[in-house]
Subunit: 230 residues, 2 copies
C-alpha cells in the first residue's frame, strides 16, 4: 500500500528560507519516504524570483524566451520552449501564479542539485534516509490538462528499467522503462492541488527497489537526437 | 491523505470473464473509491484479443497500422499513431506483453463505456458509489520513460478545471486544467508494476470534488485543431 500525505501549514517561503526545516517540523519522516516538493517553493527558497512589470504584457514572454535555448511552438503569448535543462514546457517554466504581483518565479538552476541538497538536510534533521522529488506542472502534447512531473530527484529512481524482467506469463518485457519519478509527482499532486497552496507531500510505501541514486537530467530528459518530436 | 491499494490475486482474465466480480471479491470497496484497472484485463475480458503470427516480424506493425487513423512518426518497427479514439501512442496500443504467445491485445473499442459498465457492475455488487479509471501505458514526447494514463473514466473527473479559482495569494489561476484521471492512473501504477502482473488498484481518499460524470474522449483527447504537435 502506498500513502500520499500532504504537508500542510507551510508559511509563505522567501529567499533563504530553511525549506527542509519547514517541512521536517510539520511531519514525522520515516525511512523510505519520498518527500515531494513543488518547484515553486524550491525556487523561492533559492531566490529564483525576478521582478516583472505587471503592466507590460510582453514582459513574461521576453522572460520565457530569455530562459529558453529553443522555441518549439508559439501561439500568441504562449511559447513551448526547451529550457537549458532540456525540459520542453510552456513559457520555459516561468510562472506568475502563487507569487506576489510584479514578480515571476524561474525554474531552479539545477533541480537535481536542489533535490540532493534538500535530501541531505532532511536526513540530517530527521536521522532517516528519505528521497526527494522536485516537481513542476507541465502540459503534454496530444492530451488536454497538465500533470505534475519530476524536474529533480535525489535518492529515488527517475526511471525504472524493467526491460528484460519477465512479465507475469514469463515472457520478456520489451521497452518498458517506467518514469517512476513522474508517477510519484503525479500522485503527490492529487493531495496538493493548485489552489490549496500545499507545496509538499510525502509518498510513503514506494517499492524499496526504486530507492537509488538517480537524476532527472541523466535519465528522463530525452536528448534531441533520440527524440521523434523535436 | 490518499491511499493506493493493489488488488492482488486476480486470476488470468479471459474473454467474458466477470471482471467486476473478480475485483469486488478481492477488496472491500468504500464510497468514493476510484477503482483503477489496466486496459490489458479490460480488453481481455471484452475479447479484444487477436491471433498474430509470432514468426512474422511485420505482423505487429500491420496490426498497429490497421488500428490507426494517422501515423505521426515511424522508426523501424515502432510507429507513433493516432488511434480511432484520438489517442497518440506507440503502435496504436497494440500489445504483445502479458498475453499468450501468438496473440495481441487491442485497446477497448470505447474505453469510457468500458469504465461505465465496470462502474455500474461494481456499484451493483458492492452497494456503494465508486468511480472507475481504465489505464494504459503511454510514452511521451520529450521525456524518457512511460507512465500510465487514463484512457477511460466513469464517475471521476478526467480533468479538473481550476481556471478562475484563486491561488493561495488570492490571484486568479490562469490556464490550470489538471488531468486528474491521468494523475490517478500514474499513482495506481506505482503499486501495480509492469512485471508484478497486478492489473487493478484502489485509489482511496481523492478530493470528493473530483467525483463527477466525465469522459476521457470528451475532456482529455485534444482535437487536432487545437493541438500544436500534430
Amino acid at each position: 500500500m502506498l500513502s500520499v500525505l500532504p504537508v500542510a501549514g507551510l508559511p509563505e517561503v522567501v529567499a533563504g528560507a530553511p525549506l527542509a526545516e519547514l517541512i521536517a517540523e510539520r511531519c514525522e519522516l520515516r525511512a523510505g519516504d519520498v518527500v515531494v516538493v513543488t518547484q515553486k517553493v524550491v525556487s523561492k527558497a533559492e531566490g529564483r524570483v525576478v521582478a516583472i512589470d505587471p503592466d507590460d504584457e510582453q514582459a513574461k514572454l521576453r522572460l520565457a524566451l530569455s530562459e529558453a535555448v529553443r522555441v518549439l511552438r508559439r501561439r500568441g503569448e504562449l511559447v513551448i520552449t526547451e529550457t537549458r535543462h532540456g525540459f520542453v514546457c510552456a513559457n520555459s517554466g516561468v510562472d506568475l501564479s502563487n507569487v506576489a504581483e510584479g514578480y515571476a518565479v524561474l525554474l531552479p538552476v539545477d533541480p537535481d542539485r536542489s533535490a540532493r541538497r534538500l535530501r541531505d538536510r532532511l536526513r540530517a534533521l530527521s536521522g532517516v534516509e528519505v528521497a526527494v522529488v522536485v516537481t513542476d506542472t507541465f502540459g503534454r502534447a496530444w492530451r488536454r490538462g497538465v500533470t505534475d512531473v519530476a524536474i529533480g530527484v535525489a535518492g529515488v529512481a527517475a526511471v525504472a528499467d524493467l526491460r528484460g524482467a519477465p512479465d507475469a506469463l514469463g515472457r520478456t518485457l520489451m521497452a518498458t522503462v517506467v518514469a517512476v519519478a513522474d508517477e510519484v509527482a503525479a500522485a503527490a499532486d492529487l493531495v496538493m492541488g493548485k489552489a490549496a497552496g500545499i507545496p509538499a507531500a510525502i509518498v510513503r510505501g514506494i517499492d524499496p527497489g526504486f530507492l537509488r541514486s538517480s537524476s532527472v537530467a541523466g535519465e528522463i530528459v530525452r536528448p534531441p537526437a533520440e527524440d521523434l518530436f523535436r
